[in-house]
Symmetry: C2
Subunit: 214 residues, 2 copies
Amino acid sequence: MAEDRRPYRRESQESRREALITAALELMAEGGAQAATVRAIADRAGITPGLIRHYFQTKDDLTRAAYAALMERMAEQSLRATLTAPDDPAARLAAFVAASLRPPVMTGDRVRLWAGFLHLVQRDPMMRAVHEATYLGYRNRLQALIQTLPGKGDPVQARALAIACNAVIDGLWLEGGTLPEGFAPQELEQIGLQAIAAILGTALPPTQTTDEAP
Amino acid sequence: MAEDRRPYRRESQESRREALITAALELMAEGGAQAATVRAIADRAGITPGLIRHYFQTKDDLTRAAYAALMERMAEQSLRATLTAPDDPAARLAAFVAASLRPPVMTGDRVRLWAGFLHLVQRDPMMRAVHEATYLGYRNRLQALIQTLPGKGDPVQARALAIACNAVIDGLWLEGGTLPEGFAPQELEQIGLQAIAAILGTALPPTQTTDEAP
DNA sequence: CGGGTGATTATACAAGCGTATAACAAGGGA
DNA sequence: TCCCTTGTTATACGCTTGTATAATCACCCG
């Protein structure tokens, strides 16, 4: 009748923090901020609730860390596309755009996760700074790609064009994420490339598919 | 020492429901879904918490009603712009776009409010239906305006153009709402009109300001 | 000018939340 | 091998949440 104490292993601070952040993001993606309770997060991370406060001073701290990790992942995934693309300015831009309009970036979970943080972002200065930095980083990357195109070197014009292209991407990302069954496969990707080509007045080459040869 | 009972007036079901919905939306815009508790909503609406359940069977019911009211207001405000515009296809389209990129449509509160509902929208079938209907209604309105432009009568092409233009509007709306100090006044409005003109390959006339003569 | 009715208030309850703290034990250093 | 540090569990506390129900009184009707 004696209730056994739960067995456990000691783990590194790094792996515990990562597990907690991943668990928090998963739960928030599935059920919103109110689903990511301390107990639910601990349960998914495989620990007991009390241990959370051994790695994060407060729950807000964990939330902040989770948001920073999410934004870092998103920025990294969009950026990676330009690295593997051909060494042609237009091709790299097209790859950048297309990567943002495909999974794993364009996903319902991602959109809802991002949206769920919005209120906290406004309130918390640290999260607000992360938000601004990520947005501007993405847009500046876009602007840099635009400025490499022939005849698009003017920074002032390129800024406006980058804002417009960024809006196209964000808008399609939003719609594809919230209404996935409303569009044919790769339809939004094609529409996005055409729209951006029209805005820039430049032809964009077709992008390679994501198929990875075995 | 006897504690007096709080005085009250009887009011119509209509006005009570409206007051509760408005209070819920205000609180949600200010502090997210978690700020819109039953007690806070009742307090702002000037009643005691128990009365809420006299007008809404459950809190989810109130939330559903609030979402429907929000979407109705947003659709109405964007639509109204086209009614007062000149009877020229391009001018009406421009007015429609510009109205979506100005207050009271483009506001941080609006964006956060909309984002805060996203999780509930996916889960609740009724809210999901409202979401889809509002989005498609907006986009179809855009498509109808595009099809009135010279040489844009083809529905298939107009659909793709409407999706692209809608994305521009949504994206700029998002960015203007979440990062208002990052742009000059009316900058997003101008960028949006230029981008949409480029996508459509049609010149758009300048829009009238919102100044209302006394 | 008195009911009667139902809108409204007041109070209570169980469940869940974030947080605090004491007891335990896993695993490395001597 | 044994101890000692500290990662980890277990338990508890106070507060807030949504909901339920009984008591009250504002206002319409005759």
